[in-house]
């Protein structure tokens, strides 16, 4: 049933957030540490489990896939609720700091990609 997929998704997200909160408390940080990442890993793990007693059927999958397809519309709504005014009225320092951070971080992507790729290729 479709609801199984939605429930599975909810289960993964709640478990992830719970573990992320615990992890935050454990290292003494007032924030959720990687909860959504943990939820994603959990979902990937469950989705890849296949035994003769357990397999996710097509209908269940469609419950997850619907929310995956809703991702872009949700991101559009997310964009529409950003505090754009505050960002712009933060003044030149905020703008320069934000712009420089983004430019330099972008420039570092290919550098890091080369370094990490070489490392990981050596492993095999």
């Amino acid at each position: 049933m479709v609801v199984y997929g939605v429930a599975l998704l909810a289960f993964c997200m709640l478990t992830g957030i719970f573990l992320g909160d615990l992890l935050g408390q454990l290292i003494g940080v007032d924030a959720n540490v990687g909860g959504i990442g943990i939820a994603m890993l959990l979902l990937i793990f469950i989705a890849n489990v296949r035994t003769n007693r357990f397999e996710i059927n097509t209908l269940t999958k469609s419950g997850v896939n619907f929310w995956s397809a809703m991702y872009i519309p949700i991101v559009v709504a997310m964009a529409a609720k950003q505090n754009v005014l505050a960002a712009i009225s933060g003044g030149w320092m905020a703008i320069i700091a934000g712009v420089m951070t983004v430019i330099i971080s972008f420039l570092m992507i290919p550098v890091l990609y080369k370094l990490l790729r070489r490392d990981s290729n050596d492993d095999f």
Binding site: I36, V64, I74, A79, S105
Partner: protein, 255 residues
């Protein structure tokens, strides 16, 4: 009377109104994409930009901090675009992830997140110093804001920075997040942001979940789970490092 009834129908069913609104924005954006840019700029990139523009007007009209969602008619946009639904949809995108792409994920992810936090922090800190801030607390708070707009206030509060500096750190983080949403699809081809590994590094370096989520959505939705996976650890790592190790480094350097 007709208007009042319509207004009530829309506001009493806020999230349904939001579904319709987002569908409308998307339709307009895809129309603009095909007819005005000849498909050069992707529809979702236009939709995100349009969303940000509307958010600006929302803030301008109401003086609130939730963009368009502060206008009662669009309150549902705030729910649909809030962290709960955003994260729910992000987790759902992981369903299509191939396990073999995640083989080296641990190492690549961890390195890029830590590197990303430290890099953003010091860029923000240096700009703060250039703008005349000379106390370790303010410099650290602004640097933390350059990580994400959550790390900034968390760090500022922990170090008891002034509210003015905390607000500034949020502004820095917001600029970063909005910029990442807008420019990623245009820069992607030049930095080879077209595979799982580079998406993970991108998520780890940028770290802003909203920015990464929006930027990758407009670039290639298949990359979303990889970028989001690393980005989701970033704020936590930032909240861990900024008020502790990074603050101590700044204090040692400043004095």
């Amino acid at each position: 009377m007709i208007f009042e009834t319509l207004f009530n129908a829309l506001t009493n069913n806020a999230i349904i109104t939001a579904f319709f609104f987002v569908g409308l924005v998307t339709a307009i954006s895809y129309w603009i994409s095909t007819n005005l840019t000849n498909g050069y700029i992707h529809g979702s990139a236009i939709a995100i930009a349009l969303g940000l523009l509307l958010a600006y007007f929302g803030g301008y009209l109401t003086g609130g901090d939730k963009g368009l969602a502060d206008i009662p008619l669009f309150a549902g946009v705030g729910i649909l675009g809030g962290a709960m639904f955003r994260d729910f949809a992000i987790v759902a995108t992981a369903f299509g992830v191939d396990l073999k792409h995640l083989k080296n994920a641990g190492l690549i992810g961890a390195i890029s997140v830590i590197f990303g936090v430290v890099l953003s922090f010091f860029i923000g800190a240096i700009i703060a110093i250039m703008f005349g801030y000379n106390d370790a607390v303010s410099i650290t708070t602004i640097g933390a804001g350059a990580a994400t707009y959550i790390v900034g206030p968390v760090t500022g509060t922990a170090l008891s920075a002034s509210t003015e500096v905390i607000a500034l750190s949020v502004a820095v983080g917001l600029i970063k997040s909005i910029l990442v949403m807008i420019v990623t699809p245009f820069i992607a081809p030049y930095i080879k942001l077209n595979n799982a590994e580079s998406a993970m590094i991108f998520g780890g370096l940028m770290g802003t979940t909203s920015g990464v989520a929006g930027g990758l959505a407009a670039t290639d939705p298949r990359l979303v789970p990889y970028g989001a996976m690393t980005a989701t650890f970033y704020t936590g790592v930032g909240c861990l490092l900024a008020p502790s190790v990074l603050f101590l480094i700044v204090r040692a350097l400043v004095s």
